[in-house]
């Protein structure tokens, strides 16, 4: 499987990028030169140093420092954990939730469908920032609130997408055939219909992983995201935003580049997996 997977060079490289990112994220506390979350280790006198500078103690800031004197390199390593965690967790939950609801909606049809789809309509109209703000007001800031806000905006898109495809599939002959075999409804939905809806769904999912990270960054930009002392890649970008015009590009460029590499890798891997798994796609 892996051999087949890496027959494409793109996919091989992407897999290497993603897995090294995961390794770096997991090992961050051991390889990062600084604990960027420990306020007592930060000195504002070291703030906004350009890449490769040293402070008075001779500490080398490989990618420079942010506005609080935080080592950008360490912050990226730590930020990877949060960003990857937020992106995959929220996408996975939103995917499962949305797909299940969309399938049920399409297959059962009628009142259930109408009910579920109107919930979807409602959900789609609530912007993430509003949900996040309400969560912040009710229960404070935190990673879990950001994940909830992202799931809340994303599940509906999966539901709507899978329903659209499933409606088509439901009417195909093979479903009629399995219905004659008196298979259970859930079996028909998840074993027979779902695999045939996977193409648009998986595309949506890979794009949504990127968008989850963007949403997280945007929420931080709007002040309702992660706690400011524990930056993710997105928060690093949001914090670096005010310094882009003043030429302190390193605050946001490096986290931005890491994010781009990561997201492109995820999407290429997603494409490759689809090629290998999808029953109708060319091998």
């Amino acid at each position: 499987m892996l051999k087949e997977f890496t027959r494409s060079i793109y996919a091989g490289v992407s897999l290497a990028v993603l897995s090294s990112a995961i390794v770096f994220a997991l090992l961050a506390p051991w390889i990062a030169p600084q604990d960027p979350y420990d306020l007592a280790q930060l000195f504002i006198l070291d703030s906004r140093l350009p890449p490769m500078s040293r402070n008075s103690d001779g500490f080398l800031f490989l990618l420079g420092t942010d506005d609080q004197g935080r080592d950008v390199f360490s912050a990226i390593l730590y930020g990877l954990r949060i960003s990857l965690g937020v992106a995959f967790l929220s996408t996975a939950i939103a995917f499962l939730l949305g797909t299940a609801i969309g399938l049920i909606s399409a297959y059962l049809g009628g009142r259930v469908d109408a009910f579920l789809m109107r919930i979807v309509d409602m959900q789609l109209s609530f912007p993430a920032v509003l949900i996040a703000l309400m969560l912040v007001a009710l229960v404070g800031t935190g990673i879990d609130k950001v994940i909830i806000a992202i799931i809340a905006v994303q599940w509906a898109r999966y539901a709507r997408t899978v329903r659209g495809s499933a409606l088509v599939e439901r009417e195909r002959e093979y479903i009629e055939a399995v219905e004659c075999l008196a298979f259970s409804r859930s079996r028909i939905m998840f074993v027979h219909i779902l695999p045939n809806c996977m193409a648009p769904l998986s595309i949506l999912a890979t794009v949504e992983i990127a968008s989850a990270i963007s949403i997280e960054a945007t929420l931080s930009f709007l002040g309702v995201g992660l706690p400011i002392t524990q930056p993710s890649l997105g928060l690093l970008i949001a914090n670096g935003y005010p310094f882009m015009l003043s030429g302190n590009y390193w605050l946001s460029i490096y986290p931005g580049l890491v994010l781009i590499a990561l997201m492109v890798a995820v999407n290429i891997i997603g494409d490759r997996m689809r090629e290998l798994i999808n029953p109708r796609s060319e091998k």
Binding site: L39, L42, F43, I44, L45, Q68, L222, I228, T229, Y249
Partner: protein, 533 residues
């Protein structure tokens, strides 16, 4: 930067696109001033009381008196005023004063305007809030307005400066839409309404018939650009002539540009921290391990002094504010009447601070959350985080919570809210025109009924200080009042009722060839900009 390469590579294309984008700033005539402004405007002049709205209104409507850049009062519609007795003020209306429609400004118009401003329905931030202690405003003849105050009220001139004057018939009949369409936008100010596009721009033109000094610009365009970076970009790109609320971090870059000028001056604002001294157990104070504590260390003045000494104000101003401020030793800025000039500075000395903390019984520190807004003051969340590191080095286990003001303010101001243990706040002289505003709102004991201590989030309470503050609020002679206020400040700072951080600056930037006079309350005024030579 890779940008120069990109520029080279795309030079060929640029000519083609230039054709498309040639008409970019149609408003850029020589005597038009285009201002990129942070704040949206409320067109009804009596609906939403805020400093930016006041600034827009001054252009169009005018007021009995107006405030100059140093927040001193100047005649406007009222040419002079007499203090009849301690609580009675007579304002004489300038006989030359005319509304945009040509009719004379009368005392009746003033009376009607004050009435509308304090009774307008639906107004959530009513101008009535500006008229604290005002008992009545009445026309006693065609050109005299009598204002009665409940007690002697030295702030009165600053208060009446907040209220826009419109014709009485409009004050009675106009609805809010009429001000948006411009139908009712008739005032006595130096500029006239041309057009307003919600969320986008307000266009004004010179009122040739203005009774005072002629307006400096034929046409003024206020363009709303609320994002800081976008506003700076608009100036750099030449789309606007002037921008307000320049983020301090962009000042160095702007100064490097040959076509840009930066103006900076002191504001009437001070940033400070409010510790919770009122509660025996404070909700965001824990012991070092995060367990709740049965006492509140912030009630010990030594702890508060230790915290004050652990803050490196110079670095804070230099690094977080990019120099846009001055280290403070009190919560009232130097240019504000009542500032206690004799107070010594607060020394930055971490080891002495640690000793003091140990003396108070906390050699290992304790856990504390600092709360701040992240969308209210310049760099508020960044200041908070930097304070977090400084206090962490004192040995406290710090948490930093930055929240939008929409969440933060109800939490600290709602009587049912649980408030904070340590929070960042900024205060200016506001409508008091002196230290009185800061003192009554943040230092005086919280007293809902009498309207004292509204922002005294830490619930500091000292009867001696209260007495001095209350006396000052009713002292009409400026010198006597300033002495009392200085005394109140000295007493409160001796208690470290609040922990002063720094005095703010106001920064405005313009294209080359303009000169701008900064207003201490951050008002953006078109006529403060003049061609430089």
């Amino acid at each position: 930067m890779p940008l120069s390469k990109l520029r080279k590579a795309t030079r060929g294309l640029s000519a083609a696109v230039m054709l498309v984008s040639c008409v970019m700033s149609a408003d850029a005539a020589a005597d038009t001033l285009t201002i990129g402004t942070r704040s949206e405007m409320t067109m009804d002049p009596h609906f939403f009381w805020s400093t930016p709205n006041r600034a827009y209104n001054v252009h169009l409507y005018g007021s009995l008196v107006r405030l100059n850049n140093a927040m001193r009062t100047q005649p406007m519609i009222a040419s002079k005023w007499i203090l009849v007795d301690e609580t009675t003020w007579d304002f004489k209306i300038d006989p030359a004063a005319r509304f945009h429609n040509g009719s004379k400004v009368t005392a009746k118009d003033v009376e009607a305007s004050f009435k509308r401003a304090s009774t307008l329905e639906n107004a959530a931030a009513s101008y009535k809030g500006a008229l604290r202690g005002v008992a009545s405003v009445t026309a006693i003849d065609t050109d005299t307005v009598r204002v009665k105050t409940k007690k002697a009220n030295p702030a009165l001139l600053h208060q009446v400066a907040q209220i826009s004057i419109i014709p009485a018939n409009i004050a009675v009949s106009a609805n809010q839409g009429d001000f948006i369409s411009g139908k009712a936008a008739i005032g006595a100010g130096p500029y006239k309404f041309v057009r307003f596009k919600a969320g986008d721009r307000l266009v004004l033109e010179r009122n040739e018939a203005y009774f005072g000094p002629k307006a400096k610009w034929d046409k003024v365009v206020f363009r709303v650009i609320s994002d800081d970076a976008a506003r700076v970009a608009a100036l750099l790109g030449g789309d606007v002539d002037l921008i307000d609320y320049v983020p301090p971090s962009d000042v160095a870059r702007l100064k490097r540009e040959s076509g840009i000028k930066v103006f900076r001056s002191t504001s009437d604002r001070t940033m400070f921290l409010i510790p919770d001294v009122g509660r025996n157990v404070s909700p965001f104070v824990t012991d070092k391990d995060g367990e709740s504590m049965n006492k509140n260390p912030l009630q010990d003045v030594r702890v508060r002094k230790a915290m004050a000494m652990a803050i490196d104000r110079k670095s804070l101003v230099a690094r977080i504010m990019d120099g846009a401020g001055t280290p403070a030793n009190q919560n009232v800025a130097p240019d504000v009447l009542g500032h206690a000039a004799a107070l010594p500075g607060i020394k930055y000395d971490v080891s002495a601070a640690k000793k003091l903390l140990a003396e108070a019984g906390y050699p290992n520190g304790f856990g504390l959350t600092i709360h701040c807004t992240n969308d209210r003051y310049v760099n508020d969340a960044r200041i908070c985080q930097a304070l977090g590191q400084m206090l962490a080095r004192l040995g406290l286990k710090m948490k930093v919570e930055a929240l939008p003001k929409a969440v933060m303010f109800p939490r600290i101001r709602d009587p049912k809210g649980d408030r904070t243990s340590l929070m960042l706040l900024s205060f200016g002289s506001g409508t008091s025109g002196d230290a009185g505003g800061t003192l009554t709102h943040t230092i005086h004991t919280f007293d809902k009924g009498r309207g004292f201590g509204t922002w005294n989030v830490g619930r500091y309470s000292n009867a001696n200080v209260d007495a001095v503050i209350e006396k000052a609020v009713t002292t009409l002679r400026a010198n006597d009042r300033a002495k009392l206020q200085s005394k109140a400040i000295s007493l409160a700072i001796a208690d470290m009722a609040v922990i002063p951080l720094f005095y703010n600056n106001v920064i405005v930037a313009s294209r080359k060839g303009l000169s701008y006079t900064i207003y201490a309350d951050q008002s953006t005024i078109a006529d403060a900009a003049v061609p430089a030579n």
